[in-house]
């Protein structure tokens, strides 16, 4: 799992670089003033050598420790897998833009259709349904009562919740809480949204999901060209200037949620989307090898911490060990 916010630590290199530069500019002069110009050559050369390696090792320290925070991973490590069964939490955006008909019949209907197909494809699984706008709520708790789930899908519409907005963070967090406790099942969240003007911090929620080992599969419903939002009376949604609002699929947040949580992103208008989601769910459900082991990316943070500490060790060594009887 990569921790993208760790990248900001690289910014520390800027002040460190400035300090190194200043020390180079002034250090030698300061040194002569203290130690006497009569030793200029010997001291100056040693200063240069020590300054160079000391700076280099400190920069290495910052780089390595940042890489450790980032959680750079390569290779796979086998993890024993006792999980049985599949629990899916559907998180469905029911903001008004989901009424747009750029995907036929509408984004919302297409999402519901896809949810229905997935329920049929995994008859032994438990499902929960979470709807969100500005707020999120559990439309159905996790249950294997498919009868109930499918009968209730038809009651889902954008008017079911009045809170304005599209707070995907709340949706995801509600979904994380909807999985039954004390179960060793493969748990997956599937998020349907057009990704437009998402509120909340989806990345935090995605990280929480990743920590719990729950990948979020995101499905972007909508098209790049977008379309207008038709209302029940046949008119279209207008903005404050009286112009018709065009809504488009915005993929960035959805892609980020998928990548941070270890899920995958799919486009709702892709004909093969359903097959791929099913295949992915099947892969997630059954451990990949036959001996009940699954493979997880191996986080190499320990190697980078060690490298960072070794860099610091050299950095201190350069300082502490006296060279040529000078300093």
């Amino acid at each position: 799992m990569l921790t993208p916010y760790g990248v900001w630590l690289f910014l520390l290199l800027v002040p460190v670089g400035l300090i190194i530069w200043r020390r180079y500019k002034n250090g030698r002069r300061d040194l002569m003033r203290i130690a006497g110009f009569w030793r200029e050559e010997a001291l100056g050369n040693l200063f240069l050598v020590k300054w160079f390696f000391s700076s280099l090792t400190f920069v290495c320290f910052i780089i390595f420790s940042t890489l450790a925070v980032l959680g750079v991973a390569w290779g796979k490590t086998p993890v024993k897998d006792d999980r049985q069964g599949l629990d899916i939490g559907f998180v469905l955006d029911i903001s008004r833009s989901m009424l747009c008909a750029d995907i036929q019949p509408t984004r919302l209907d297409r999402s519901l259709e896809s949810i229905g197909i997935l329920m049929d494809s995994f008859p032994e699984s438990r499902f929960s349904i979470i709807l969100f706008k500005g707020e999120a709520f559990k439309f159905s708790p996790a249950t294997e009562d498919h009868q109930y789930l499918k009968a209730n899908l038809q009651y889902i519409n954008t008017g079911i919740l009045t809170a304005a907005g599209t707070n995907v963070e709340k949706g995801l967090i509600t979904a994380l809480g909807s999985f039954p406790p004390g179960e060793e099942t493969t748990q997956v969240i599937i998020l349907y949204s057009d990704g437009e003007s998402l509120e909340g911090d989806p990345e935090t929620a995605a990280r929480d999901a990743a920590e719990l080992g729950i990948p979020v599969i995101t499905v972007g419903v909508g098209t790049d060209e977008g379309g207008m939002i038709s209302l029940a009376d046949g008119s279209f949604v207008k903005n404050s200037r009286g112009e018709q609002v065009i809504t488009r699929l915005v993929e960035e947040d959805l892609q980020r949620i998928a990548s941070v949580s270890g899920g995958a992103y799919f486009r709702g208008d892709d004909m093969l989307m359903m097959q791929e989601v099913k295949k992915l769910l099947n892969d997630m459900r059954s451990p990949k090898s036959e001996t009940d082991f699954r493979y997880e990316p191996k986080n190499r943070f320990r190697l980078f911490i060690l490298l960072a500490l070794v860099s610091l060790l050299f950095n201190q060594g350069i300082r502490v060990l006296k060279w040529k009887d000078l300093f």
């Binding site: 630590l9 910052i62 420790s65 249950t143 009868q147 909807s178 004390g182 920590e211 986080n299």
Partner: protein
């Protein structure tokens, strides 16, 4: 709870005192310049315990605590969560509750029958663990309120939202059982149970109770039936939640005991009569103990790595030391 994944790395902490000695106390340590500051037979000067020195000491403190925090991060500090993991499938239970107006009869002091039943069901739910519970209510019609789920919070919310007469003023026992059976049909549970609470005779619904109970029995569902309320005249008072109308009067109470006994026996369940809140409580306790099966449980351990917190703190401690020494105190020797 906190734990360390590889505590063996903590042995590296032994390096810290050696490092401190090497850097701050060793006689021939580097990082110092020798130059004359003393005239012959005169007295030299010594550094005073000034603010600068305090700052320098502080930066040393930052440095060594940074190193310690880094070594702890290396040992892999993690949050350690223990949870009970159920290896066996629980029993699916659907509670079928009568919400016809007669349930407002006030012979269950201090509450009416309906409120008492809700309270007792609430306690029953609290006592279960890992058994999916669902909720069906019926009046003239029947409806599934909550599908069988382990999310007991939802079941309790569903229970709280039940109101008398929401589904009309009849007693469709058959419909209640049929709806419950329908929703237990796709369940993968080995044991399926319906608990039926009613205080009246079946007088509504398209499906007669006998047919419904045959369907349920055919699906391997056990039905416990509870006839509630005393027979005879009882006072009744309630407010219709929809119209706000207050209903008040005397009511001739009675349920079809024979029918309830037959349903219970055919499906392998039991029949109970509850005349008071206390007896209703003990009935639910009996059902609770009859429907308790040994569950296979194991202790699952989840560790959530938290080394990043330590790393970030460590980086800032060491960076702080660097800035104080190099930028503020303008340390000359690299």
């Amino acid at each position: 709870m906190w734990t360390l994944e590889y505590p063996v790395y903590l042995f590296l902490l032994a390096v810290v005192p050696v490092g401190i000695w090497m850097r701050h106390f060793r006689k021939r340590r580097g990082g110092r310049l020798t130059f004359a500051f003393d005239i012959w037979k005169g007295s030299g000067f010594s550094a005073k315990w000034t603010g600068l020195n305090i700052l320098l000491g502080f930066s040393h403190l930052l440095f060594w605590s940074g190193i310690i925090v880094f070594i702890i991060a290396l040992a892999g500090p993690s949050l350690f969560i223990q949870e009970r993991i159920f290896l066996s499938r629980g029993i699916d239970i659907i509670v079928v509750l009568d919400e016809s107006p007669s349930m407002a009869a006030q012979d269950f002091k201090p509450n009416n029958r309906f409120q008492s039943a809700k309270n007792v069901i609430r306690e029953f739910i609290a006592g279960r663990e890992h058994d999916p519970i669902g909720l069906v209510s019926f009046g003239r019609e029947a409806a599934l309120r909550v599908p069988p789920t382990l999310d007991y919070g939802e079941v309790l919310r569903g229970l709280d939202s039940l109101n008398l007469m929401d589904l009309g003023d009849g007693t469709a026992i058959g419909m209640g059982i049929a709806v419950a059976a329908l929703h237990l049909r796709s369940s993968t549970a080995e044991y399926k149970v319906i608990i039926l609470l009613t205080d009246g005779e079946n007088n509504a619904g398209e499906i007669p109770p006998e047919t419904a109970s045959d369907i349920a029995t055919g699906l391997g569902i056990k039905i416990y039936t509870i006839g509630i309320g005393s027979q005879g005249e009882v006072p009744l008072e309630f407010t219709d939640s929809k119209s706000g109308k207050v209903y008040k009067g005397m009511y001739r109470s009675g349920f079809d005991e024979e029918l309830l006994i037959r349903i219970a026996e055919e499906s392998g369940g039991e029949y109970f009569t509850a005349l008071s809140q206390n007896s209703l409580e003990s009935i639910f306790k009996t059902i609770d103990s009859m429907e308790t099966r040994g569950q296979k449980v194991k202790l699952g351990i989840k560790t959530i790595p938290r080394h990043n917190v330590f790393l970030v703190i460590g980086i800032f401690l060491l960076f702080g030391d660097y800035v104080i020494r190099k930028a503020l105190l303008k340390e000359v020797l690299p």
